[in-house]
Amino acid sequence: MIETKHISKTVNTSEGQLQILQPISFNVKAGESVAIVGASGSGKSTLLSLLAGLDQVSEGEIYLDGAGLHSMDEEQRARLRGEKVGFIFQSFMLVQSLTALENIMLPAEIAGLDNAKQLGQQILEQVGLGHRGTHYPNQLSGGEQQRVAIARAFITKPKILFADEPTGNLDAANSDKVEKLLFELNRESDTTLVLVTHDPELASKCQRQLHMHAGELTEITSEESTGASANDAQQQQAS
């Protein structure tokens, strides 16, 4: 589903060029769930932004469901995102002036689906917020907002879902709920999931874990050893 070949990212700073991502190559299979872990500033969000086509690679090639992201312009990437990608963010990124239901409908409307409202209502029920459809984001709790964001991510049934610290802003109870919901919907729709997190427990729920450190990527769990625990991952890293 995702194929990367020697992708790297370099940015210009006042002190010259800075390579924030060393050349990386890895693949993600369809339906697989992959966690990218690492300390703040290690480059994991940069990697996510490249994989999702939100940013351009400096070198290398990325294929998303066979389409060469690296050679596309912003418009083509936007279209591809609209067709195949869903997103969940740490800060929820809901449009404040739209209601919960309208936020959920947004990707469907952008994609030009006629039954956006119906789909939105359906999925809103699924995330347990059927009664809060007319509420604005600032009238919802953090957990509720993230559930709306999850619903929004799944409304177009994307092939790939990118999640950036989906539980980073939530308390333990809400984190659990959101995690559960995320993996449940992921399984139901057979979506490929790539998530960036600090949280070892969340990471451990993914089939694979990739570790970012100073712009370099190391595979913690192989494609075969899915479901490895966080402890395993740390041990492997230590060895």
Binding site: S49, E75, R81, F87, M93, V95, Q96, S97, E102, P107
Partner: protein
């Protein structure tokens, strides 16, 4: 397409409901309302004033001719629905009581005057009553001076040409009698039907024909368009109120310029507020745009969504603004109804068109750059919140908004000069402010050091938001500057008008006072409690040559009482006076005033600038005058600018006293007699039958009434602009307060005391207010100087007081508004604040 529309509509609906569009909507409403009310009001006021001014030419338009015009021209005017009448002017001798005097004879046709009123009385120098009639056949009405000159009374007969007329009334006021202090020869009014029998209109006589027209201004314009190709520039002279060069015409003209200026400033104010609001609007939508792009929206879809949204906002703003504008002007009109009768019956489309046009242009052009910025927000912002718009160019921003403002002003005023003056001052102000902003940042680094108190917080904020603050500073400064311009301009203009006619302005003039009569007259008047003014010596002369070259042009207007002085009716006779001191209201523009250095012939003469220009008289030219049988030659030593708007005797030629030593002069003087003491005149004048009395009291009262009305109108316009400006300031503070929300929330969360936060915000606004006020005072001087000297034909002046007032008021107003805005935020608790931030 449909999706973008739906989404835009949904966003618009929710944002409007949640009050998120208030600021930008308010800016558009304000711009449309202020432009509409101002231009609607000034248009109506102008037509009311023009209507009143029209009384001074007794019609809306005049056609002057040496000979009767083609009757078809008049029938065409009637056909087009215009009212017309005519009057014949002739200079003719009148005989009566075995005396004779030169008169200005007027033969008026039915309908005269089309505008204004004729007033008559039943005794010379009596108080006039309005009359709707004209002299009947065989009757004549004459001015008091004729009765004085001929020693006749009502009921007596006078002969004019071959006809005899019975004097049935004293003519006290004729609307179109001009503003010359010395109205020339006494006027005699007869019916048009009696003219032919007098036989004074034959070849060689000095006769002119004036045709009067009134009607809808557009019809008058159409008529002139039809007539113009048939007119002969040499023979015909078309005149409208606007061409009126009298003090009234000029006062109204200046007031119109002021209204135009005020409306232009309202447009700029509106533009500033929309620019500020649009920037804020754009910034607020960075996140939604990044989200939409992330979710797959194409650039064109995002563009459509926001263009639709801006259209909805503009449309709503225009509708609300138009309603508000109508209400405002209705209130203003009824507030001044008892002072100036402004008709609400006539609906003027132009102001509505201008207001809508302004709203659309402002909304489109000023939101263009913020929108372009908005469209360039990268989707990556969803992950990296620090990312702003992809494009940023102050040059594009200032260039686009600047040229839009200039274009708007030009389109509206059709006057590139006034537009450029305002624009250039604006540019200077903006450049100076940018320099100041950077200076402040540097200064702030030093001043803001030390323990973190309110003062340090204020400086830190100013420093951190340097660019944002510079925009805010510019908008505050421009607003304050514009308010200063309208305020100071109004003060200068109104005080100048009042100065023209201070209390005690002479309303009677005396001429033909002999040397021997002078002391006695002074005493006699003093005994009756009336002060006489300066006695000017006058010798009647004939102007014959310039550098020995005979002149054919008729020179002076002193003998003429017709308003159309422009082309004909000038006499070659001139009143010469002499003096060693320059008269009040006179200014030397070339050469030198007599300094006693010329001790032998030719002695010097000072010539009025405009007549010099017309007759091509230069410094050092030799002018020749005939006085009786004597010939005198004088050399032009200076050219003078004369303020003809002062009600005092003014002279084209002032000679060096030495040259006139041998001539016996008569004197001119003036005095003030309150209207209610008019009856005293006969007592005052009884011993001096040979002295000519000119009564300009009615004229002065008319002039004063108009000046008062115009001043009042200007005052209301000022208030309107002040209100609009204050609202803009409030909107600006409100907009910038939102930007401070986040910081306030953080400070609150960290446990900062309300008093610390409040004080820091107030300090910040006070600093901005002081700088904005000071810069506004600076730019105000530049703008005013250019406006006064280039547009209003006034003396440029400096206004030092405002150098202090502006920064203080700026600090106070901006500080108070800032504090008020801050108070509102601080009444929310921290969690509400944090929630608002999300």
């Amino acid at each position: 397409m449909n999706n973008a529309f739906n989404l835009a509509w949904r966003l618009f609906k929710h944002e409007a409901k949640r009050g998120e569009l208030t600021i930008i909507l308010f800016a558009i409403v304000l711009s449309v309302a202020s432009v509409l009310s101002l231009s609607l009001f000034s248009e109506r006021l102008q037509s009311a004033l023009t209507d009143q001014t029209a009384e001074f030419i007794a019609a809306d338009r005049l056609l002057d001719a040496d000979k009767p015009v083609d009757p078809q021209w008049i029938s065409k005017a009637t056909e087009m629905g215009l009212n017309t009448t005519k009057q014949v002017y002739a200079r003719s001798m009148a005989f009566g009581n075995q005396q004779m005097t030169l008169t200005n004879l007027r033969a008026a046709d039915q309908g005269y005057p089309l505008k204004g009123e004729l007033k008559t009385s039943l005794q010379p120098f009596g108080l006039g009553q309005v009359t709707e009639e004209l002299p009947a056949a065989g009757e004549a009405w004459a001015e008091s001076r004729l009765f004085q000159a001929l020693g006749v009374k009502l009921g007596d007969s006078i002969e004019v040409g071959d006809s005899e007329f019975t004097l049935t009334r004293v003519l006290t006021e004729v609307p179109d009698s001009g503003f010359s202090v010395f109205g020339g020869n006494p006027k005699v009014l007869i019916g048009y039907g009696d003219l032919e029998a007098t036989n004074i209109t034959g070849p060689g006589s000095r006769v002119s024909y004036t045709y009067f027209f009134t009607g809808e201004s557009s019809v008058l314009d159409d008529y002139y368009a039809w007539l113009e190709p048939q007119l002969d520039r040499e023979l015909h002279f078309w005149m409208s109120v606007e061409d009126d060069d009298s003090p009234i015409g000029r006062s109204v003209g200046r007031a119109e310029q002021y209204f135009l200026l005020a409306s232009l400033l309202a447009i700029v104010l509106a533009a500033v507020s929309i620019a500020v609001a649009a920037q804020r609007y754009s910034q607020r939508h960075y996140d939604p745009v990044a989200i939409m792009k992330t979710l797959g929206a194409s650039k064109s879809m995002v563009q459509r969504v926001y263009l639709y949204q801006i259209s909805f906002i503009t449309l709503l703003g225009i509708v609300l603004g138009a309603i508000a504008g109508l209400i405002i002007q209705q209130i203003v009109v009824s507030a001044i109804a008892d002072k100036v009768a402004v008709s609400l019956d006539v609906w003027h489309w132009r102001p509505l068109f201008i207001a809508v046009f302004t709203g659309v242009i402002c909304a489109v052009l000023f939101s263009l750059y913020p929108l372009l910025k908005l469209f360039s927000v990268p989707p990556l912002r969803v992950l990296r919140r620090d990312l702003g718009a992809g494009m940023s160019s102050r040059i594009v921003q200032f260039g686009a908004t600047g040229s839009a403002i200039l274009l708007l002003m030009w389109a509206y005023s059709q006057n590139i000069k006034i537009s450029l003056i305002l624009f250039v001052s604006g540019i200077v102000l903006v450049c100076a402010l940018l320099a100041i902003t950077y200076g402040l940042i540097a200064l702030g680094r030093k001043l803001g050091q030390g323990k973190m108190g309110a003062w340090q917080l204020a400086w830190a904020r100013i420093k951190r938001r340097a660019m944002g603050n510079s925009v805010q500073l510019i908008s505050f400064s421009v607003t304050i500057m514009l308010l200063l311009v309208v305020l100071v301009m109004r003060n200068d203009m109104v005080s100048q008008w009042r100065d023209q006619l201070p209390q005690g302005t002479p309303n009677y003039f005396l001429s033909n006072i002999t040397e021997s009569q002078r002391p006695g007259l002074q005493d006699h008047f003093a005994q009756n409690g009336v002060e006489t003014d300066v006695f000017y010596p006058v010798v009647r002369a004939r102007f014959v040559a310039i550098n020995d070259e005979k002149i054919r042009t008729e020179v002076t207007k002193e003998d003429d009482d017709k308003p159309s002085q422009g082309r004909n009716g000038l006499g070659r006779e001139a009143n010469l006076t002499w003096s060693n001191t320059l008269q009040n209201g006179n200014r030397i523009v070339a050469g030198k005033w007599f300094d006693g250095s010329t001790t032998k012939e030719p002695f010097g003469v000072s010539v009025e600038e405009r007549i010099a220009d017309r007759l091509n008289i230069k410094l050092d030219d030799i002018l020749t005058f005939n006085i009786g049988s004597e010939v005198i030659n004088v050399k032009v030593t200076s050219l003078r600018e004369v303020n003809w708007q002062t009600m005092q005797p003014n002279f084209f030629f002032v000679l060096q006293p030495e040259v006139m030593g041998s001539f016996l002069p008569t004197y001119i003087t003036s005095f003030n007699l309150p209207s209610d003491q008019k009856a005293k005149i006969s007592t005052l004048m009884r011993p001096y039958a040979s002295i000519t009395l000119f009564d300009v009291d009615a004229r002065i009262n008319q002039l004063r009434a108009i000046v008062d009305q115009v001043s009042l109108a200007v005052e209301f316009i000022l208030i309107l602009v002040l209100v609009a400006g204050s609202l803009v300031l409030i909107a600006q503070v409100q907009a910038s307060m939102d930007e401070r929300q986040q910081e306030l929330a953080i400070l609150r969360t960290l446990g900062a005391k309300g008093s610390l936060i409040r004080a820091s915000v107030v300090y910040e606004f006070v600093i901005i207010g002081v700088v904005a006020g000071a810069m506004a005072a600076l730019a105000n001087e530049l703008t005013l100087y250019l406006l006064q000297t280039q547009i209003f034909q006034m003396e440029g002046s400096l206004h030092y007081a405002y150098w202090i007032i502006a920064p203080v008021v700026g600090a106070l107003v901006v500080g108070i508004l800032g504090a008020a805005g801050c108070w509102r935020l601080l009444t929310l608790n921290t969690s509400q604040l944090l929630r608002k931030m999300v």
